[in-house]
Structure formats: C-alpha cells, structure tokens
Symmetry: C4
Subunit: 276 residues, 4 copies
C-alpha cells in the first residue's frame, strides 16, 4: 500500500525526513477549515463503526485535513455512536487541539498524530477494541486474510506490546507522543496492527477505505478463528499476489459498502448491544 | 434436482447442446420486458438476503427471464440491501447488459450468465460471501446436510479453486466468461458450490427456492461446525434418501418462509451489522 | 413434572387408559369455542418464539382447549411470526381440524395430537428447529441443565431417531399419527425431546411454561456446548434435587419473563434474521 | 478497589465493625426519600442491562441510598427491561422493604442487602445470569482480564458454590439472609463473583461503574473463551499492575459509555432476544 516506508532499522531518521517533506509541501496548501463534506464523512464513519460493532462506547476514527496535511480531524472525547459535526475538532501532528473550546480530548489521540506524522500516505486512522480481534492480540496466532474482502491483511499484522515501550506497569493506553511514536513504528507498512490486551489500529488512504478495513478486519478475525478450529489448524489463506490484487480491486468498489452502511445509520435503529 | 445433468467427462459438449436446445425452444417465446411481479420478487430477494445476513454490501442474486430463457435479470452494481425495481437490468447469456443506461455492472455477472447458459433448469442464482460458509471453503471439511431444512446439500457441495482455471495470481473474482464457465462446470448438479477464499454460489428453480437455499446453507454451515466440535467429529448427517425426500417436501412449503422474510423487509428496521 | 407417567413397558396400555380418563372427565365440560384470552396467549406465544429465535419460518406451538381436553388449538400452516387470532384452528386428538375453513394445515400436527392423547397433564406443545439444539440431536452428547433457568432438562432429554419408527428413507417429518405416536412414546416424562436431524419437542402445563422452556432449552444448548469446550468436557451440572427444586421455583415466576417477551412483540421491531 | 477490605480470616468480625461504623456515621445523614436523579439512574441501569444482554426476564440491579447507607433501592419483582421509577422500592439491610405497597419482592434481594451490610464502599450491586459467564462458573477455568476494559477482573473472580452453605438440595437461589451472608463472604474484595449453575454478582462504587463492570464482564467471558481456544490455552492476560492502573483510568471515563447506553434505551428499539 504505502510505497515509501523505510526499513525498520533506519526508521526514526527516515520518519523525521518524511515529516519534514510534509511540512514543506504543505506550507503553501494550508487554507482554513476542513470541508463540510469531509466532516460529514467523518461523522458517518463514527456512526457506521458503532452500528457495525467495531467500536462501542470507546474507540475513535480520524481523518487528515484535506488541504493541510499537518492537521487532522477527530471527535472530542465521547462515544463514536453519538458524534455530530459539532463534536469534530482539529489537531496538529503533536496531538494538540487547535481550538478545543473546552472539550475533553481522547487520551489516546497520539495514536493518530504520530501515525500521521510518520506516514504521509495515511489519510485516515481507526483505533478500536473490535471484539473478535482481541483474542488474536493475546495469543501467538497471526491474523491472516481468509478471503478477498480482507485481503489488505496480506501486508502482515504486527502486534504492539506496550511493555516494550512503556514497561510492565502502564494503564495500557497510548497516552503520550512517545507511546504514539512506538505504535507508529510497529505499524510499519501494514494496514492493521493489533495491540496486546487492548485493541487495534487500522489505517487507510480515505475515510471510506479505513472504515471498510476496520469492518472486514473484525469479520476476518471471527471467521479465521472459526476456520482454524474447523480445519484443526489447516487453513488455506490468500497468497501474496491474490491479496495484493484483491486489494486493488476492492479499492475500486469501496463506495458500494459505504453507501449501504451510511443509509443504515439514517434509519430508525435498534438497540445496539456492546456485547459481541 | 436437475435431471439431465451431463457426466463431467462429456460436460462441455453436453452443455453446448443444452444451450442450443434452449435457443431453439425459446425463439418463439421471446416477448418483451420481464413481468413486474418477477422484478418485485427479485427486489424482495435482494432485501431478504441482506436482512438475513447472507449478503452485506456485496453479493448478488439473479433470475432467468420468465419467457425468454436467453436473458436474465440482475441489479446494477450496488449493495443488495438498497436495490429497487429501477436498479434491475437485463443481461444476455454472455453477460452483456441489454440496456445498461450507463449503470455500472457487477464484475462477476459471468457467474450468472455461464450457469444459465449451461443449465436450462436453473432459474435463479445467488452469489454471496455468506459468512459461515467461508471456513468450509478454506478447509478440507465437506459441507453436508445436518437437518431437513438444508437437505438440498445432499447433492454434494464442490469447492471451486480459482487457481485451477485462473492461475496463482488472480484477484479472486470471476471477472470474465472463461472463469464463469469454470464455475459452471465445477457446480455440476449441486445446489451449492463453495469458492475458496471467496464465498459461494447457490442455484434454484425459482427466486423463492434460491433464497431459501442460500439462507439455510448459511445456517447449516454455522450449526455443522458447532456439531463437529461438540461431537468431536462424530456427527449423524441425513442419508441420501432422507435428503432427497426432505428436499421434495421443502419445495412445497417455500412460501411459508418467503412470506415471513418478505414481511420483515417492509417493517421499520434495525441497523444491520455486516459483522456476523 | 408429570406425576402419573406410566413406565415405558406398559406405555401403550396406560396411555389408552389415560386417554379414556380424559374422555370421561371431559364429557361434561365440553362447551364451545376456546376462550379469547387463551387464543391471545397462543398468538403471543407464536410471536414470542419467533422474536426469540426459537422458530423461524417453520415450527409451531399449540395449547389444549381449556374446557375440552379432547381438542387443541394450533395455527394454520404459516410462519409463527405472522400468526394472528384469525389463523388459529381447533383440532381433535387425531389431528383433524374441526373446521379448517379451507386453510392448509401443518403436516406435522400429529406431534401435538399424539402427545395430547397420551399425556393428560400436557397442556401446551412446541415443535421447533431451535438452532443450538440441532448439534445435540446429531451427536451423542446429552443435553443437561447447566443452570437453574433450564432445570426442567433434569428430567432427561431423549433423542428421537425417526429411522426406528419410519425406516431409513423418510422425509424426516412426523407426517402421520403413527409417527406422532412414536414421538409421544419416546418423549416419556421429559419436558424436552430432541429429534435427530430435525429439531425438538417441548411440552408444558401452560403456554407460558412451554414458551419459557423452549427459550431456555435453546440458551442451555448454546451455553452447554460452550462450557464443554471451555472445561474440555469437565462441567458441573445441576444435580437431580437442585433441578427439581429450581423447576418448582421457576414455575412460580414464569410471568416475569412472559410479560417482557410479550411487551417486546408489541413494539416497533427490527428485522429478525433467521440466521442464528 | 475497596481500600479497607479485611483479611479473609478476620472477616466476620471486621464486617460487623464496618457495619457499625456505617450505622454511626449515617445516623445524622438519614433524610427521607431517595433523590429523583438516583432513581432515574437506577431505572436507566435496569434498561441498559436488558438492552445489552446482561439480564433477560431475570436479574436485578440495586443502589445504596445516597444519604442513608442503611438503605438501598431495588425494583419490585419484575423484568428489568420494563422497570419504571414507580417500580423502585426501598429496602433496609436485612432485605425488608420499607414500604412494599403490596408489591412482590425479588426472592434474592438478600444478595444485595448482605453485601451492603458488610462492605461500606459498595454502592451498587448487579445480580445476573449474564450468558457468557455461565460456562466459567461450572468449569475450573478462572475468569481473568484479557484487556483493559475488563481490568477490574484483576482483583480475582471467586466462584460461589451454594452446596457449601446451603447443602446439596437447594433451588440454587439466595433466598434468605444466611445464604446472602455466604455470598458476601465469598465475594471478598473482588468486583465480580460467579455463582455455580446460576450467574454472577458484580459490585461497584456507583450505578455507572457497576453497569460498566457487568457489561464488560460478559464481553470478557465471551472473548476469553474464544482466546483460550484460539491459543490452545496460551493467553497473555493483563498483569496485576496493568489491571490496577487500567481500572483507575477507566473509572474516569465511565460516563462515555453510560451516555451511549442511556441514549440507546430511549430510541425506538428492536426486539431483544433472550437467546445469547
């Protein structure tokens, strides 16, 4: 997906260089508030992820500002299923709210800011406690693509162990830029990263793509666990070329699912259980 | 189910002959647009399959034209749960839209066209990523009928491996007539065929029957996996005669379930999660 | 539960005697149509079992006539979730509709008639394809009470194998009085009986009780399967006294659940998936 | 969580002392009926636990009176999902209703009264048959925190075996103060206790906290069982410090989930299945 990801060894240096590039190229483009359509899509993304069971009272989704790559949009600290346009705030790449209007902020906004800082091609980020992926984050069983819909998992799914960067006694949260930077490093060129005892991070090149990926990551996890039991460990996964080709194909039809999910958020709705 | 299915060895020749027969018998019957009731049923089928979790943003259902067997009806490229009568297009048996009105077409319409071409008795086709069947398509565990509702599985459930016809680097999709023909060949006389790393194909002699089969295939897969674990592999399946007899019985009461599912699509509805 | 159940050996004779007793005691009580409240409760039972996922398009629930024990009430052949008071018909204990008004009848009404014929204390019967019990009917794992809510399973859960009474080539249905009688014999004094490759039968002394039992049978099956996996076969079940005592206690609070379930059937509702 | 919990050995004595302290400190604060906001929160808690699948027709939630610690509030005997403010009654710490107005009372109110009597810091109690925890109560597999949301499980989850205090032939219910006292003793300093063949007890320092804990206990149980299968018994749990730190963090954001759950109870709603 992302072409210019540095090797892990040279990561910090290259990351800094990438950030520099963004800063330079963005200087001339920075022009005022985010587009209303982008905000509407971000609100829809919050509602969709809640409707589809990827987030419950917790979790968040952000998008990079469409003309200023040094800013991103994220809701104030609240349940995604209740977010409206008025709840969307702007942040810089250090995770500072540009104008918080006294609103509480997500403690873990540094997941977003540090990923945007390092990966210029990432334009949207989801952090969730998506239920079916939790078991994969606390076992040694790799999450892999079982069908074409989740082919983006073919780029690999690393697991972030907070004890490596934060020691053995954290509260599990990515509550400062340093932990955010460790998250960004571990993510590498993958679309999805699991966080041990916590949840996952999903990145994409648009809101529609990151929502699609977050939902099909959840589905893949549920069905892969089932397949491993059914096949007693013997499961045929997509190979690397199938995964890459299917991802290119899916990217062209993201709107088909997006339109359905968006329509569903507008209808009278059922109670949504947090219980998976 | 289908009486005159050729042996696999003589398949291509017999298939061509069957297609010829259709062409001849149909010449005098071809008379204009599809019946409004048939279109209404196809719209209902789209909605029902979405409501029941067989399809999500993806998947499709078609029906053969009721007076012209050389044509079939299928929605334009969109989520089944949003399909209306205006979205239904007509196709010929090469997968060409007769009048596309500029609409985008499903890339995989050749699943439908090639099956209709070869099997005169097939009058409706569903292609889905029905979640519970995915694990059966990627393991070596055969899908078999665990109870009378899914007795149509007694005809066998082959697995389509796209690498055989398409090589090791496809995008998994049935995106041309050649792959569609390979799908049709592998289907044989079965009602259901799995596609490795992709989904399934279900065929029937009416819209009501194919919807019934698609739904109970999903249920059978879910419960069979559960039974295999519970019984540690020891499970009593329907025998061949029980399966054949139950299928004949079920065919007489398809409308009982259809009426329920159809009523449900008309009521105020809950958010439908794509997550199984 | 039922006090005067004959030993299996003397079953047919005792059953006939019991039926005779009913006939005698009932002669003076037989007085016209069923009470409107009883019909309302039977309609509610149909809706509740559909809402709670015990029945889908198929399955049925009946109640013995409140003043004439030689009659019972059952809907015409249709999906339980759509039943209204006008769909309720009366049947005699041979499964004949007293006044069918041209309506189609459930093929399997003999499950009900033969049970009512043999067991005077049974006043309500459910037949369903309750999803989670299907695996127990096709494996050798006994369904047993894992908690107090399903304590009525403590009386034992026999499995009906239709091949014993119907041979190896049935369509799995209880389509005549002879098969119905075999079902009634196998049921014995249990509250629940599984039918291999088909579903279950649940009996009770009232509509409220049989609905309670049908729902908690489904829940027990789901959670027992889970417990057996979690405990690798080592599970603590209720002992016989706990089961008997808890059943007596539950019988006194059936209305607490009934009122909730009934209220739910009256609210605007979500689409109900048949897929478990 | 609770700072001043006595060692198990000195438990009864210390418990009595604690109760005495409450009586003294409360004497001056006792002032009439409970606050309307507290009652509203308790009604919301009933609805939320029903919406989220923690309780069905059975189970209950209580809160200690905000100015008189010798009293607590609990609904009359009814399904939690139907509770309104008018159904809330006041009880003393022996489980007597102060003014029952002829209403039926929960048989198991002694779970609440005896816990409030012994643990001054407990301000809210849930008793439920939360489905996913049932298997953990009947096997020897400890329930442990798999992620930060359920970190409160880090204090340990004892299992209450009613046969120890009630003998081998109870009806499983906590139907008198003696059994309630045994429940309270076994709970110790934990936030959650399982009851073999029955359900669980969850305690907290506020309604919001106890609802949060009851819901995430259910989720943890479901996902832990899944993780144990996936990892074939090898699962990384939160360590003691992570659990304690995450609990402190979560306590500060309880309202984020509460607001979502509360909003959901006010919307037009879907049928809620009791079947998990």
């Amino acid at each position: 997906m992302r072409k210019s990801v540095p090797l892990l060894g040279a990561f910090l240096l290259a990351g800094a260089a990438a950030a520099l590039e963004i800063a330079e190229s963005a200087a001339s483009r920075r022009k005022g508030p985010a587009d209303a359509n982008l905000i509407d899509d971000l609100v829809a993304a919050n509602r969709i992820l809640s409707d589809q069971g990827v987030v419950d009272g917790f979790g968040h989704v952000s998008v990079r500002h469409e003309t200023d790559p040094m800013r991103f949009l994220l809701a104030r600290s609240m349940a995604p299923g209740l977010v409206t346009a008025d709840d969307i705030l702007e942040f810089d790449l250090d995770g500072n709210a540009l104008e918080s209007r006294g609103r509480a902020l997500y403690v873990e906004r540094f997941i977003h800011s540090e990923i945007y800082k390092v990966y210029p091609d990432v334009r949207a980020v989801v952090h969730s406690h998506s239920p079916s992926i939790i078991p994969f984050g606390i076992t040694n069983v790799p999450l892999r693509p079982i069908y074409h819909m989740s082919s983006f998992l073919g780029a690999g799914v690393p697991i972030f162990e907070i004890r490596e960067a934060g020691g053995p006694a954290t509260d599990m949260l990515i509550r400062n830029p340093g932990l955010g930077a460790a998250v960004a490093r571990k993510l590498g060129k993958s679309a999805v990263m699991l966080m041990r005892g916590h949840g996952n991070v999903v990145v994409g090149q648009s809101i529609q793509q990151v929502v699609f990926r977050a939902i099909y990551t959840e589905i893949n996890a549920k069905l892969q666990a089932e397949a491993l039991r059914l096949g007693q460990g013997e499961v045929a996964f997509l190979n690397a070329e199938e995964a890459a080709n299917a991802t290119a194909t899916n990217n062209a039809v993201l709107s088909r699912a997006w339109e359905l999910w968006k329509q569903r958020t507008l209808r009278p709705r059922a109670e949504h259980s947090s219980v998976p």
